[in-house]
């Protein structure tokens, strides 16, 4: 299972490197969002710290959806999914490989976008910065694990690209609240992020388990 996971992840990274489909569109979209936000929300230095937490995560969320929507696109194009389903390889290996791949893409995006936000909003973290990394990691996984799973579900629907955010956003709300509150807490130093980090941890554990238990069911639904 680990071997298949590694092979699938390597294959996806190689494919992405060759075509650069997801990364390019994601990056450009994220840049656009950052610029538009700075026109729409033109804050003073103090206020900016307070709302930046929310803005950043909304921007990441929309950019992540762009990446998530094409998670299974290549597999569907040439009916590769059938080849996988017919083989004895574990479906969960496939799922985890896709989820980890998405995680890496979105993480890359965050690493590239954060400086932009710091510049546009004159940000400076008052609380401990390593906590920001932890929040980012847990929050990103929360979005990506459900996003990859729901992308597989929306394969069997009309208006696939619309369906994904439609079912992903409501369920992600607790995680989003947590991400935003934690980030704001660290940036302003006004509230402790510890509770929110714990919530993200619980969210991640609950939904990663749910995804692993139910992925095969979704994959085989034809």
């Amino acid at each position: 299972m680990i071997a298949v996971l590694r092979a699938t992840l390597a294959k996806d990274l190689r494919l992405e490197w060759r075509s650069k489909d997801a990364v390019n569109s994601m990056l450009f979209f994220a840049l656009l969002v950052a610029v538009i936000f700075s026109f729409s929300f033109d804050p003073t230095a103090e206020e900016s710290r307070r709302i930046a937490g929310g803005l950043i995560w909304v921007a990441f969320l929309f950019a992540a959806v762009v990446a998530l929507n094409q998670t299974w696109a290549r597999e569907l194009r040439s009916q590769v999914l059938d080849a996988y389903r017919v083989s004895p390889a574990s479906p969960n290996a496939l799922f985890l490989a896709k989820a980890v791949g998405n995680f890496l893409f979105v993480a890359l995006l965050e690493v590239l976008m954060t400086p932009l936000f710091i510049v546009f909003y004159n940000l400076r973290a008052i609380g401990p910065v390593w906590q920001l990394a932890l929040v980012a990691a847990l929050g990103t996984w929360a979005l990506v694990v459900n996003g990859t799973f729901f992308a597989a579900m929306s394969i069997r629907t009309r208006s696939r690209e619309v369906m994904l955010p439609l079912i992903l956003f409501p369920i992600s709300i607790p995680a989003l609240i947590a991400m935003v509150q934690a980030t704001t807490g660290i940036l302003t130093g006004e509230l402790s992020p510890r509770f929110w980090i714990n919530l993200l941890l619980v969210y991640d554990v609950v939904f990663t388990t749910a995804c692993l238990v139910l992925f095969e069911t979704v994959l085989d639904a034809e």
Binding site: N146, F150, M153, R156, T157, R158, S159, M163, L166, I167, F169, P170, I171, I173, P174, A175, I177, A178, Q181, L191, F195, L199, V202, Y203, V206, F207, A210, L214, T217, V218, A221, E222
Partner: protein, 234 residues
């Protein structure tokens, strides 16, 4: 008398009793006045919606194990009725908040959680509507499981979010005392709403089962139409 009629009459009776309790029997609230009486519809609706979603969760899990059509029909019915009651909560909330606090929407913990619940189950209904394959029930059941697993997280996160950013609370905070007669009115209305919901679910269930059976009949008819052919053997 037909079952449906009996059911409807019982429901009507309970609702009427509940109405009387809410509007006449219960005392007027000290600070808010008569507007507060919306409480007897607002709160029971929320509890009823939650009960529906709980049943939807159970039905979905049963479906994933047994793949029975009845479980699927039940899941669909409870989800729809649950969304209806959720909508009632979301409409009565602002109706209550505006005269009392002058604002339409308060980010009150219960109201906000109900909004998220509503979003989750509307997305469930949309998924069912937009799904193309014959495996709609399976995908929907999976989403229902995810949605319900999310519910405690929704309540928890919003509750703590509210304590960090307090705002007016619709319907009395946690642990606020309640007058005995008001409590009685509340309970009677809750029972009435639950019976009402049960009736709606039952009717919707029958409708969905009928639709499923019509589909089955079409399928059978189409395959029975195939003319018999001979098998040629050496």
């Amino acid at each position: 008398m037909r079952k449906a009629t009996v059911f409807a009459l019982i429901t009507l009776g309970l609702l009427t009793w509940g109405l009387h309790q809410a509007m006449v029997a219960a005392p007027t609230e000290a600070t808010m006045g008569d507007v507060q009486r919306i409480f007897y519809y607002h709160v029971p609706s929320a509890w009823t919606a939650f009960a529906c979603f709980l049943l939807n969760f159970v039905a979905s899990i049963v479906y994933l194990f047994k793949r029975g059509q009845r479980a699927d029909a039940f899941a669909l019915s409870t989800a729809e009725v649950g969304v209806v009651f959720c909508t009632v909560v979301l409409v009565t909330g602002p109706l209550w908040a505006k005269p009392v606090w002058g604002i339409w929407w308060t980010w009150d913990a219960r109201l906000t959680s109900t909004l998220v619940l509503w979003l989750i189950y509307v997305s469930y209904l949309l998924l069912r509507k937009f799904s193309t394959s014959g495996q709609t029930p399976v995908i929907a059941a999976v989403l229902a499981v995810f949605g319900f697993l999310d519910v405690p997280l929704v309540y928890w996160s919003i509750r703590i979010f509210r304590t960090q950013h307090p705002q007016p609370v619709v319907g009395g905070g946690e642990g606020s005392g309640i007058d005995a007669q008001m409590f009685q009115a509340l309970m009677i209305n809750w029972v009435a709403f639950m019976v009402f919901a049960a009736m709606l679910v039952w009717l919707r269930f029958r409708l969905e089962r009928a639709r499923q059976q019509v589909n089955e009949a079409y399928l059978l008819r189409d395959s029975a139409d195939i003319p018999q052919r001979m098998k040629v053997s050496r």
